[in-house]
Subunit: 260 residues, 2 copies
């Protein structure tokens, strides 16, 4: 194995076409591909859905084989963190807004589990989906700051035919909730298509389309720093998180001035 290039796709399981697209991205770039399935308790808040997060290890294993995974790391949830585990990796600034503001401690859980997974698996390359747009930015920063030496590859959002971003949590949506969940992506597309630069106006345009139970955030930010913008100059990223029928969903879309 010495000298083999190792690709890695970390997941929380209940795999869908979004996850397998990450495997398809990694496969041609590595000699050995490792996937992991671990529902990481550290990244769930006390009132979040850790206990009901969907699991399907056998179906997941079949999908991994079909997409060329060489090794599937499926640690016991009780033993992944050894007794006495007390370390945390914290990334400041990038974690302050968006999901970081709404889910305290979430990104510390993400960076800590990813650092430990990188240590255990030693990948050359890891692929993360861009539905979790803030997550991949935070992980890139950690990798740079701690010189972890892992190339981070983004995987584009995979959507159902109706535009809904794939998520393991979509299984919780009733038919009626799913219809309303589509308004997250519709909201982002309305913002992207508006031909408008003023962020306050864009937010109004987006919110007019939304039909959700609770909006966590709708923000238009710099695509690198994730800092909120007042005016869209060149590229910007529109991000949304909202609850529909008790399920929290996220989505995002790049909006570019000039090519709308």
């Amino acid at each position: 194995m010495s000298g083999a290039r190792v690709g890695f796709v970390p997941t929380m399981g209940y795999l869908h076409a979004g996850h397998t697209s990450l495997m398809d991205i990694a496969r041609p770039q590595c000699d050995q591909m490792v996937a992991s399935i671990f529902v990481n308790p550290l990244q769930f808040g006390p009132n979040e859905d850790l206990d009901v997060y969907p699991r399907d290890p056998e179906g997941d294993a079949e999908k991994c084989v079909a997409h060329g995974v060489d090794a599937l790391f499926l640690p016991e949830e009780s033993s992944f963190y050894p007794d006495g585990f007390v370390s945390t990796v914290h990334v400041d600034r990038l974690t302050e807004g968006l999901c970081g503001a709404k889910r305290p401690g979430h990104f510390d859980g993400v960076t800590t589990v990813v650092a430990r997974l990188f240590g255990l698996i030693r990948p050359d390359l890891a692929v993360f989906g861009t539905k979790d747009y803030q997550q991949i930015a935070v992980i890139r920063q950690m990798v740079s700051d701690l010189a972890l030496g892992v190339e981070i590859c983004p995987g584009p959002i995979v959507r159902d035919a109706d535009g809904l971003a794939l998520s393991s949590r979509n299984r919780f949506l009733s038919k009626e909730a799913r219809r309303r969940a589509l308004t997250l992506n519709a909201c982002l597309r309305a913002i992207g298509d508006a031909g408008e630069r003023d962020v306050a106006a864009l937010n109004d345009i987006g919110k007019a389309v939304l039909d959700v139970d609770r909006l966590d955030y709708l923000e238009i930010v710099d695509p690198v720093t994730l800092q909120p913008l007042d005016t869209v100059r060149d590229d910007a990223q529109a991000l949304i998180a909202a609850f529909v029928g008790g399920t929290r969903l996220i989505d995002n879309l790049r909006i570019s001035r000039g090519d709308t």
Copy 2:
């Protein structure tokens, strides 16, 4: 270099025989030995001695060569942390007491710089002195938790003939202050020689010997968990930190029941 075993001795420079003893420990265990000199601002508090910490890069380089260092990493203090660096590695619990209690943020600075140095240098083995007893415990924990894959080797405390533990900060001691600084080690030896198991009594015995300006702590703790003990059962570690003539010094000694 592929397959070569890399040893690493991280330091803050102004090297003394304590540092070079770490190099002598690493040298036979590795093919390539890297040392680093970096006075890490993250591990100094706002009222500490970062600005006056002694520096001697040329003398240090000579000592490194004499002790078989193959590569000396001497980063610019202004550029070691790239612009936008925002990550922190935090180790909980082990950092709560002792120096961690007296120097808030100190160990976050230590673990963060060591994680970044390990990332940049990729050692198989790293040697740390045990004068900083809590530091090496914290680093071991980080390496285990984040699966960094670096073997951590302890280097015994090196002392001057009069018993004073070597420290780059000893240069700040006047002749009079140095005489009083010797009471740190004398205090620890009095505790170790007392043939007493009760920690409160041992503390009194130690303090009777001390002649310092301010005692930061004198504690007798479990050598692994660093938790304070009431009674010395098997092994215990006595640790002291105190200011003498404006200089903060630390020392520690293993005390064993039965062989005193």
